[in-house]
Amino acid sequence: MAAKADVLVGLCVAAVGVAFFIGAETIAVEAAAARDVGSRFVPRLASALIAVLALLLVVNGLRERARGPWLDAGALGVAAVRVLPLAVAALVFVPMVHLAGYTVATILATLAALLLFGNRRWWVLLAVPIGLALLIDHLFFDTMQLYRPEGLLPGLIAG
């Protein structure tokens, strides 16, 4: 039995397919593209098929009179409280590295993740981020000799 949410998901996926199909038009075509099998061929084919299948998902949902709510408010609330902050933390990690350096960004990201996973003991919130940052620093930057991104702030503070 199809769910009502599938109808919405189908519409979103169809939009992604259409966007990629339109985007394929911007791909340069080589002068001698034989039988239309040039650089645009697979992107167009895949995106068109995605859009068609997504519409099938929508039609299937409507035809079967899909059950359940359009949007599960409870699940959305849980996702907004527990997942969204973590997703934001993942996305701001790189800007944070540019700003404060890898070690500080690691400490802050670990702290945020620990809090979002419900950890409240102070010694866990203190020891785990600092311990993990030091371990990463030693293993990846000292031992494996990776380039350590320092960030803008430490430089500014140091004058």
Binding site: V37, S39, L86, V97, T110, I136, L146
Partner: protein, 503 residues
């Protein structure tokens, strides 16, 4: 015998042996921790393999994925919580045995069945793959396209609750694989003027996002920690803690049947151990003369699902090594390790990297021996250790470690951003029942499939109909079609979150 030379290669390298042991032990632990998948662990550890010899790197990843499959049975039996999706059927009979105080018996039959299934599968790989490779080395672009097409159809339609969503996942993987330079004309595609996108998306950041970061997001949402605390008391009767010879003899036909199912399923791209364990279990139950005891603690049920899911492991490598098509997520990651070390995978690998390949097979056999020993004598202890793992601390650590693993690939913060974005995409895909394995396998194979398709279309005036003139291509397309028909006639649901059922 090449395999003896393989043992020679493996045992001549202390580093490789060390990583076989490390991979085996780590795999057992990873498999035994519910929610922590082998795919996530492998994705995080892949950057480490840059710094290892090729054999050590491959053996590490291969043994980790192999033992994780068995490790998943430990919490399934002890706590009614499968460590991996592949152990979901084991809990049906395993946990009732634990409740009767017979957890020792259940764990021992699980390890025996796993070892038998896995060894048979590994031997088939060792002695059979090379003969298939001799044949596949001769096939051309149309046949390769048929192989890729067959793989896409199977991964798209078999995994997941919905065929349509599975196919969308596959096509999305193919589409994402087109980002970067066209493999034939070298013209840029979907790079949006971003320099880092012009060479395409790196495999490891995408893997980390799809399997690790999305897993952390799902765990943050579900917050199902601390459910493995109640361990049933063990029966005082020593007979309940061991498998007697009559019991083993009773299980042997079941193990043999499940192994054959597992091997066949393992050779099909994308189907995997989660399906095998349910097929093995369901067939053993159907064939049983005493079906009334099933569901109440039948040791044949534990043996059936464990033999089936572990016999997938070796067979999974057959399509990878003979055709360059990974049979599972773990095989796809192993393919990534081959690529990292500049080894072109396909039938020619048996000539160009013979020592390495047979060294890897030897590592597989050593790993089976290791997990049999550890599992037979230490499963109970591992289970009790795992029950104390502070999951709510482990996931934040995994979350941040995924960033440094992505960064370590090229010392590029752009890769970290890619991992984050694909983490969110992966979460949404899981949330709405799209298939992550189908996406990742299509992403890996997309480039090769595109080249094969375009070459095929350019080869003949008949266009795609040239496939009808090629018998081998037709065989592969027929396999794909048969699997789809079977899938539609027998509804099968495998959730990304690890819950699976056969109706």
């Amino acid at each position: 015998m090449d395999i003896i030379a393989g043992f020679g290669t493996l045992f001549s390298s202390t580093e490789s042996l060390l990583f076989v042991v490390l991979g085996s032990v780590l795999g057992l632990l990873v498999g035994a921790i519910p929610g922590l998948t082998a795919a996530a662990a492998i994705a995080m550890l892949m950057p480490v393999t840059f710094y290892l010899e090729p054999l050590s790197a491959l053996a590490f990843i291969y043994t980790l994925s192999k033992t994780a499959s068995f490790g998943g049975s430990i919490p399934a039996i002890l706590f009614n919580t499968p460590g991996t999706a592949a152990a979901a059927a084991t809990q049906i009979e395993g946990y009732p045995l634990t409740r009767q105080g017979k957890q020792g018996k259940a764990l021992k039959i699980a390890v025996i069945a796993s070892a038998i299934g896995d060894t048979f599968s590994e031997l088939l790989l060792i002695f059979g793959a090379v003969y298939i490779a001799i044949y596949t080395a001769r096939i051309g672009a149309p046949e390769y396209f048929a192989v890729y097409g067959c793989a896409f159809i199977i991964v798209g339609s078999v995994i997941g609750a919905s065929v349509v969503k599975g196919l969308i996942s596959t096509l999305f993987g193919i589409l994402v694989a087109t980002v970067g330079l066209d493999p034939i004309t070298a013209l840029p595609r979907y790079d949006f003027g971003i320099l880092e996108l012009s060479s395409g998306l790196n495999l490891i950041p995408v893997l980390l996002g799809i399997f690790v970061i999305s897993e952390v997001l799902v765990q943050a949402e579900q917050r199902v920690f601390g459910q493995m605390t109640a361990v049933a008391p063990r029966s005082p009767d020593p007979a309940d803690s061991r498998v007697s010879w009559p019991e083993l003899r009773r299980c042997l036909p079941t193990i043999a049947r499940s192994t054959s199912f597992g091997v066949v399923i393992g050779m099909l791209p994308g189907v995997g151990a989660a399906v095998a364990c349910f097929v093995g279990y369901a067939e053993a139950k159907r064939a049983s003369k005493t079906p009334e005891i099933w569901g109440k603690g039948a040791i044949e049920g534990v043996a059936a699902s464990e033999a089936a899911n572990n016999s997938v492991s070796g067979a999974n490598l057959i399509p990878l090594l003979t055709l360059g098509v990974p049979g599972s997520t773990a095989a796809a990651m192993l393919m990534g390790v081959f690529m990292i070390h500049g080894i072109h995978i396909g039938p020619q690998v048996f000539i160009t990297s013979r020592d390495l390949i047979y060294g890897l097979f030897a590592a597989g056999l050593v790993s089976i021996a290791l997990y049999t020993l550890i599992g037979y004598f230490g499963s109970n202890l591992i289970g009790r250790m795992v029950s104390f793992v502070p999951i709510q601390i482990i996931y934040p650590i995994i979350f941040v470690t995924a960033f440094i693993s992505a960064y370590a690939v090229n010392s590029s913060l752009f890769d970290v951003l890619v991992a984050s974005v694909f983490g969110i995409i992966g979460y949404l895909m899981r949330r709405f029942d799209f298939s992550l394995p189908a996406f990742i396998i299509a992403f890996i194979l997309g480039g090769g499939a595109e080249v094969a398709l375009r070459r095929t279309l350019l080869m003949s005036d008949a266009g795609i109909l040239i496939l009808l003139e090629r018998p081998i291509a037709l065989i592969f397309l027929a396999i794909g079609l048969a699997v789809v028909i079977l899938r539609l006639s027998r509804p099968l649901r495998i959730g990304n979150g690890g819950r699976a059922s056969v109706s």
